[in-house]
Each structure stands twice: as structure tokens, then as C-alpha cells.
């Protein structure tokens, strides 16, 4: 899940980047409005956290610019002012959610997860497709064999990969597409890394959990997961 964080306060930026990174987001952070606006326009983010009180370019202007250019990435705005009229203005400019500083990181994470799911068209509170369930809080998966669920521990990248595929079932994702959404901008990416993680997931959970379309990429087949009991 690629996340863009635009927050000018260095300490908060650092803390949030680390925390969100630990919670399964591939975080690109940025402290200036201009840079952030540019990154939001050029990189395929799944979600953006935007602080409104940026020194060089007001957050609302950035948001307006993005929406004007047809970028529909869900945006959560952070505001220190906390005034409701500001939240309403943000919403009118195209924000999807708001959070007033100071906030609990847990709340931010929950809001972000909800937002990501909502933008992918998932209404349920938890991610569940047939026999496969994803626990976003613990970053682990659950697999149903017979009548019992078994927990499967996942590493950070495995979790991100599985979540992305589960959020976009049936969608065939190429290697490079998955790389873009699972790793942040600065990460060292090797060309076959996705392949490696896909096969690890198949080993850990079930070989049917992820399907391959030769020459195009990987996808998750919900029908296969439903009937596989």
C-alpha cells in the first residue's frame, strides 16, 4: 500500500513515517508542499496523508490542484486548527477524511485502512475473501481448513502484497505494478522480488491463494477461494 505523507514538522513526519511503515504501509514522506504536490501527481499512491498547515503551499491548494487534474487517490487531511469550517472546506475541495492533531496513531491507522478499503470498494470492516482473512491490526492472515481457522504469520512485505491483492481481487497486477504499490520510492527493488514473495505466500498459505496469468501478472480468484473448502 503506497502512502504519501506530506507533513512539514520534521519530528512528526519521522514518527509517522516509522509508525505507518510498521503498520504495513510503504511510506514516502515529504516536508514541502511543492514536492508533495508533485509526488502526488506522478507516483501511483493508494492513499495520501496531507497536513493543511504547510509553510510553502497551503494543503487545501494542493488538494484542489490534484482533484483538478483528475487524481482520485483518497486523501486524509491532518489539521491542527481543528475548526469545523476548515474540515468542511477541505471536504468540499475533495478530502475523504480528516483528523485533528494531536491524534492517536492507532486512530490514524484505522482511518487509513478504512479509507483504502472504501476506495477499493470494500464495505466490510475486515478483509475477508472466502477462506482467506486478513488481520490488519496484527498484520497476519487466517486460513480456513475444514471448520477451523489457522493463523499465518506474515512479514511486512508479504502482508502488503497480500493486502493489495485482496483489495483488488480479480485484477491482474503486473510485477512492476505490485512493486510500485508495495515498496516506497527509496526502497531497493530487485526485479524478481515479487516473484519470490508470491511463492512464499503460496507456500505459507495455500498454493491456490494467488493465481498467475502468464506474461501478465498475478491475481486473486475469489471463486477459487470460496469453493476450495
Amino acid at each position: 500500500m503506497r502512502l504519501l505523507l506530506i507533513e512539514d514538522e520534521p519530528a512528526l513526519n519521522r514518527e509517522l513515517s516509522n509508525e505507518l511503515g510498521r503498520r504495513g504501509f510503504a511510506v514516502d514522506s515529504c516536508r514541502e508542499g511543492e514536492d508533495g504536490a508533485f509526488m502526488g501527481e506522478t507516483e501511483p499512491y493508494d492513499i495520501i496523508v496531507l497536513d493543511l498547515g504547510l509553510p510553502d503551499l497551503p494543503g487545501l491548494d494542493i488538494l484542489e490542484r490534484w482533484r483538478g487534474k483528475g487524481i482520485t487517490t483518497p486523501v486524509l487531511i491532518l489539521t491542527a486548527r481543528g475548526a469545523w469550517h476548515e474540515k468542511v472546506n477541505g471536504f468540499r475541495k475533495g478530502a475523504d477524511d480528516y483528523l485533528t492533531k494531536p491524534f492517536h496513531i492507532e486512530e490514524l491507522a484505522v482511518r487509513l485502512q478504512t479509507l483504502v478499503k472504501r476506495s477499493a470498494g470494500v464495505v466490510a470492516a475486515s478483509l475477508e475473501i472466502g477462506r482467506l482473512k486478513l488481520d490488519e491490526g496484527r498484520q497476519s492472515a487466517q486460513w480456513k481448513t475444514g471448520d477451523s481457522w489457522s493463523d499465518i504469520e506474515l512479514t511486512g512485505i508479504e502482508f502488503r502484497l497480500l493486502r493489495y491483492l485482496m483489495l483488488h481481487p480479480k485484477k491482474v497486477c503486473s510485477n512492476s505494478h505490485l512493486l510500485e504499490h508495495v515498496y516506497d520510492f527509496d526502497a531497493e527493488k530487485e526485479s524478481n522480488v515479487i516473484e519470490v514473495y508470491i511463492s512464499r505466500l503460496r507456500r505459507k498459505i495455500d498454493k491456490d491463494v494467488i493465481c498467475t496469468r502468464r506474461g501478465q501478472g498475478y491475481y486473486l480468484d475469489p471463486d477459487l477461494l470460496q469453493t476450495g473448502t
Partner: protein, 441 residues
Amino acid sequence: MSSLRQRLTLSLAASLALFFIIQTWMIGNEVESLGERNLLSRLQHDQEQIIAALEWLPPATPELRRSLIPGIYERPFSGHYFQLDIGGTILRSRSLWDEKLPAQAGAIVRDVPGPDDQRLLVVEETVQFKGQPVTIRTAENILPIEHSTGDFQRHLLLFALCAVLVLMLLQGWLIGYSLKPLQRIRMQINRLKKGEQEIIDAPAPDEIMPLVEEINHLMQMMQQRLQRSRHALGDLAHSLKTPLAVTRQIIRRQSASSGTSDCGIEASDISQLSEQLERIEQRVERELVRARTAGRMPGGQWSDADRDIRDLASMLNQVFPRIDFDVQIDTGLKIPADREDMLEIFGNLLENACKWAESRVRCRIWGAQGGVCICIEDDGPGIEEEDYAELLYRGTRADESTPGHGLGLSIVSEMVAAYEGEITLSRSDDMHGLRVNIRIP
């Protein structure tokens, strides 16, 4: 006497009435004395004529030659009388019949009872006739003169009364006309209070133009000051809350690793820090909202309430997708309040309702007698009656800062108070959750 119009009318009426009363009295007096002077000169004139008619050669009995005496003295009780005293012999006019003029002290005596219930003015004169002193008294009934003077005075009074009435009507109109600019300005100030207009633009006479200009200037200044202070508060909020957010993240990180030995802080310290931090956050939030509140202020109006509330609802709907909003707002409702204040109230109340509601939140706004009514209900668990007061007034004192929910409600109740409004909590009749009723006059 609070009304200028009343004051002018009364004082003008009083001065007019006083003027006419004095005028009537003076004219009446003047006419009376004029009548009396005429009378006196006539009586003296008659005396001379009567003396001329006297035929007397002492020691013969004095006699009057009747043909020389004016006929009016011959008719009984005609109102004109004379009486001569010539060395003890009394000669009287025929008009006196058998009566006598009473003895008198003084040359002119008024109001002497005469025959036939008449009131007489008697003039006495002593003249020397053939070496003998002759006292002659002539008298005339003054009742007819008094009557006619009275009539005249009454007529004068009546005329004065009519004149006062007419003048007062004219004055009323004049006062109304001259006070019209004031009336217009008063109406505009009323509209200003209701927020229907932002400045006074009615033409004003030179005398009150400075006042109007000053009001406009003050209003403008107030608006600017509010803008400035809100801006400054926003900056303050930003500069306070971002460090608070950082601190919170650090404490959180510390508490996450407090189980391990490498952290230098005790777990109890961390929880205390975190609690203190929470208190600071609430205090800051509360004071900022308090300081941002504009409160009742002339010239402010929330013109687009409908759109704002609906946007607010659909925004909350994104955050709380399970909630079904029912927003009912009177069409074209204009609320005489500051938009930012109102959004703060609605934001807090609706968010609160969303947090507690099962699936439904209803928001109704309608105009009522002398104000705007707001009712927000949810189908959540609601609140026990004994906690209402506590929720509304929590944290209003500096030493009270219980963390937790409901701070929103007490902030709202404070803002409502800034509008001299009322807020009441109760249980919703059909939805069974909390119902918040607000009335803003």
C-alpha cells in the same frame, strides 16, 4: 421619557397649551378692564348730565328736570341708577324704584348688590352746587358686561383649544417627518442585529451621520479583529498541537518499548506523562474553541446553512458509513449567527451523534417564534438523566478536567451561551438515543 417623539410631542404640547392659556387669560383681563373703563367713563359722563339736570335754589327742595335725564334711568330696574344726596335730601332715579343704593366707602365700588339681584358698579362723586356739597352716585349693572366678557373668554378658550389641537396634529406630522431618518436607521439596526445586513446604509441627517459612521466603523473593526484573532488562534493551534502530536508519538513509542529494559523511563511515569498530555490537549482545544467563538454579533449571518449542514453530514457519512442521516432544514432559513461558530456547534453535535448512534442520526433546524430551533437525535444508547448537567458543564472550571467523551457537548453548551441561547438534553421519543435541543434567539 424614553422616546424622542414622545418627549418632543409632550414638551411642545405643554408649551403650546401654556402659551394659549396665558394668552386667553391676558386677553380676557384686558377686555374686562377695557369694559370697566368704558363703563366708568359713561357713568361719569352721566353724572355730569344729571348734575346739569339739577334745578335747585336753596332753600327750595332740589329737583331734577326729568327731560334732561337719559331715559334709561327712568325705566324701573333698567340696570342704570343714580342717587343724589344734597344736604340730606336724597334724589333717586326712577329706575331704582323704591330701593336705595347702599352706603359706600370709596369713589368706585364694584360688585355692590343691587335691585333685582343685579350686581352694580357704583361711582361716587362730590361736587359743589351753588355753594353746597352734592354727592352723586351713579351705578350700572355689570352682570351683562360680565356675561359678554365671559362669553368672549370662553370663545377665546375654545378657539385656543382648537388651535392647540390643530397645531399638535401638525407638530406630530412634523416630528414624524423630522424623525424619519432616525426611524430608518433604527430599522436598519434591527436588521443588522438579525444579520440581514452588514452595514447601515440609510441616508442620515448631518446631526447623526457621525454616529452612523462610527457604528459602521466599529462593526468593520469588530469583523476585522475577529478575523485577525481567529487567524492568530489558528496559528497558535498549529504551533501548539503539532509539538503535542510529536510528544504523543514519542510517549507512545516509549510505552510500547517500556517492557524492555533499555528504556530509561518507568512505565508509571509514562502513563502519567500520557495523562498529563491528554489534559493539556483538552485544555488547549477547549480554550482555542472558546477564543474562536464570535458569539452574538450584529451583522453576522449564516446564509447557506442548508448546504453547509448537508456537506457536513455527507462528510461525516464518509467517516461513519453505517450512519443514515436525516437532515431537515426549513427552506430559506437565515440564521443570525456566525458561520464558523455554527459549524463548530453542528460539527461537534453531529460527530458525537455519529459516534454513539446505531445507524440513524436526525438533524432538524427550523425557524420558530423569536429564534431558530435545532434538534439533533440519534438511536444510540443515550445518556442517563443525572449525567446531563455534568456533560453540559464539564470542564467549565479550570480545576475540572476529566478526560473522556462529552467535551464536545460542553464546548457546544458554552457556544450556545455566547448566543444567549438554550441547550437541553433529553431522550429521543422515537429513536431512543440522546436528543439535543438548542434554541438560539
